[in-house]
């Protein structure tokens, strides 16, 4: 059982958890890109209005807070990132 041979299949629970962790990593990047969106609007002929940008930024902010709360609910920090290394019990192939 060399460390290179991490299991290909994980139990559904672990698989789901890893994807949630992926989502947790992606969320700030998505947020950063979207927060830059108002800069693009400046290019339009009449310019961008502060109110429009404000509504967008705050709306996005609320969405990020909610998403972060949802993701955080599904991520327990005390579980390690690589459950496969924890023991053979975790390496059970996915039977589903």
């Amino acid at each position: 059982m060399s460390p290179e041979r991490l299991p290909v299949f994980l139990a559904r629970r672990h698989y789901r958890r890893r994807r949630v962790a992926d989502a947790a990593r992606l969320l700030p990047l998505t947020g950063a890109i979207l927060f830059c969106l108002p800069l693009v609007w400046k290019g339009s002929p009449e310019g961008a209005s502060t109110v429009g940008a404000m509504l967008f930024v705050f709306g996005l902010w609320v969405v990020l807070v909610v998403l972060s709360a949802v993701i955080a609910r599904h991520l327990r920090a005390d579980e390690t990132e690589h459950p496969a290394r924890d023991g053979a019990a975790e390496e059970r192939p996915d039977t589903s």
Binding site: A24, P28, P38, K42, G47, T50, D78, T80
Partner: protein, 910 residues
Amino acid sequence: MTVLNLLIVVCLSYVVLLFAVAFGADRAARLGRGSWLRSPIVYTLSLSIYCTAWTFYGAVGFAARSGLEFVTIYLGPTLVMIGWWWTLRRLVRVGRSQRITSIADLISSRYGKSNLLAVLVTVLAVVATTPYIALQLQSVTLSFAAFAETDPTATTLPDMQSTALWVAVGLALFTILFGTRNLDANERHHGVVMAIAMEAVVKLCALLAVGVFVVWGLAGGVAGTLERIEASGISRFEVSGARWVGLTMLSAMALLCLPRMFQVMVVENEHEDHLRTAAWAFPGYLLLMSLFVLPIAALGLDLLPTGANPDLFVLTLPLMEGRDGLAILSFLGGFSSATSMVIVAAIALSTMVSNHVVMPLWLHYSGTVAMVSGDMRNVALMARRLSIAGVLFLGYVYFRISGGGTALAAIGLIAFVGVAQFLPALMGGLFWRGATRTGALAGISIGAAVWLYCLFLPSFGPEMIVPQSVFDHGLFGLSWLRPRALFGAEGMDPVIHALMWSMLLNLAAFILGSLLSFPLPLERLQGAQFVNAVEHSGTQAGWSGGMAQSEDLLIMAQRIMGAHEAQALFAAAARRQGVAGYLPEPGPDFIQELERALAGSVGAATAHAMIAQIVGGTAVSVSDLMAVADETAQIMEYSSRLEVQSQELARTARQLRQTNEMLTHISVQKDEFLSQISHELRTPMTSIRAFSEILRDTGDLGPEEQKKYAAIIHDESVRLTRLLDDLLDLSVLENGQVDLNIQSGSLTGLLDRAVRAAGGETGDFVIRRDRKAEQIELTTDLDRLAQVFINLISNAHKYCEAQPAVLTIRPEVNGTQLVVDFIDNGSGIPASKQAMIFEKFSRIGVSKAGGAGLGLAICREIMARLGGDISYLPGQKGAAFRVRLPLEIDGPASQQGRSKEIRSKETDSP
């Protein structure tokens, strides 16, 4: 009572309340009743010290000057918090596992517990934070002055500087009282945390209250507010892309690097899981804090006279409308923001200053530290208290010198760029094993230098520190060294300009320095621990503890941690080691534990140095280095070692099980053998005894009868003797003590001899032989082999029921092996009995002849001695035995070893 007097009363009551809350929380924690003190909500609220007076007052001012741009200062932290899985989790885990006391401690720990690096970080942190503290003092005095101005009865305006002084003294008192209760920085300051959590609630409520008042009280609802914003001077979204992105990045970096944020986020962190709540609650808090900033700014610009300080709109709007209660609440919000920031910043900075500057100096100048008696704890605590006073004094001095003229937001951003210089070393240390001390030193130094030259010193204004000629023509007249246009980057925003160049050069120096230098062993060990903190914890540098004196260590630990705690730690370690008393064996594990405990009090670098003074230095063993050199190889090696060990265990267990089975079997056999032999001996003995009794007691026996009885006795005696002979023979054979008499001869002669001895052919017993095939020369113990043949032939004679019984003897040479089959035409031996026939005393059915059942057992032993075997050959018409043996037996010497080998083979497969 005038508003000003009311304000003073409310303010003082608020301060009293803060002291009471802090005192109550400390008391509850001490009594163990403070589980609510450790809730994730309190943790999240304590993070809100990010929102200082700069946020409370400055954000509105910022928005009034540049519109929506103010929000970048809160977007950065939002992104970092929702990305907690990347960085904060790792940061908090490292901070907790290494008992980190400050950001300087973390960076110095990571890079080989280097105190030089810690000093550099401390100095930069002090330089960057002092203006920030001045800013808080300024905001309190400004807001106080704003109240005084509106008060018609106030005859003289209060002296701004004396207000600042009183605030500074009060904060110093509070911080010293609640921030230096215990030396171990890793023990939570529950009082302080609770007080700032309460202040967080107050400032949020105050800002929301002002916002609600502005939106629904002044602008007439949401739609009206939006119209007012559209109509104001900030209606256009004209943010430069560089500033939008740059300031977002800057605030994100600052959240990670600000010493006060590090203090509440990492050092005061109670449980890693609290991050999960903070991940959404803190962005939510920031959202609420910035929600009403634009409306307040727009209304302020609209309603207040031009020239009014936009930084004070939060306060002046309610005042102008005559809402004194709301204004006082707003003042309390600003006051809370300012005080909580100053308190935590002072704690964070004082920890750094005392651990990395004062204590090492004190250790250096007081000579042989560890041995001197006296409580060093008091020295350390005093150093921390003096540092708090010093930091606040510096802030006050800065405030006096700068005169409170600069716009609030500008100072905040300047400080942000300063602390952001820690980021490459910090993140590089957490994620890159290759980061070295040299790289970190180079990166932070160059970044700090660029920051000082391009942003901090010019911020005092031309001719204050940096002469105008340098602004215009650059340092030494080199135009590419102009502080606002470094390398010809003209026309940029000064903050973004300084941020860009300082971070680029910092990063470049950090990476280059790391690539070109070679880390010390301790650095590499620490690096491995930090980088792998989330996956698994690695090995620590082991102390060569043999030389250490437990008593010296105890004396030192008592002086730093206090007698009680140190004795408890030592006693616990001694108990774990199974040693009575207070002095455990100074093994590497214990010394490491002690170092961690000390690090919680005086920082990693100082703790390391102090232990090194007594113990004499770290032993980085070759295996440690190998571990660092290749973690993967280490894991692989470890797992393969485990695998080998488990295989070995399984093998041993299997062998043990086999041996156990064999022993049980042998024991059973022995019992059977004993009972069999008793039985076999008893039968002839009984008849001998009976007939001899008849001979003795019966007087009138005829000579015929006497002779008959004597013959029976004789026969039985012969049988007994034969049995004993056989037993002896078997025992000799089994013990391998037999001496072989090796001769050469032909198989034909041997068989002739055997047939003769077995009684030869009779009428109803025919032996078929192939005399041509029997022309084989043998070199072996012919007598013993003949014994086997005789046994087989007489067995056939005795047991074959066929009429006539025909025994076929079929020799064959197979390489160097001779194979002789003895096959009769009887009914054979049933399969269930075949395995047993070679065992002692095994007889099939009722014995016809008086054999003891030892014959085949003896045959088997003999054949084993001769280097061959005898086996039952199933699948023939009748009973068939196959004898195999080498044509030429090995020499007697090897024969001895061989026989042992055979014996062991036999016992292997019972």
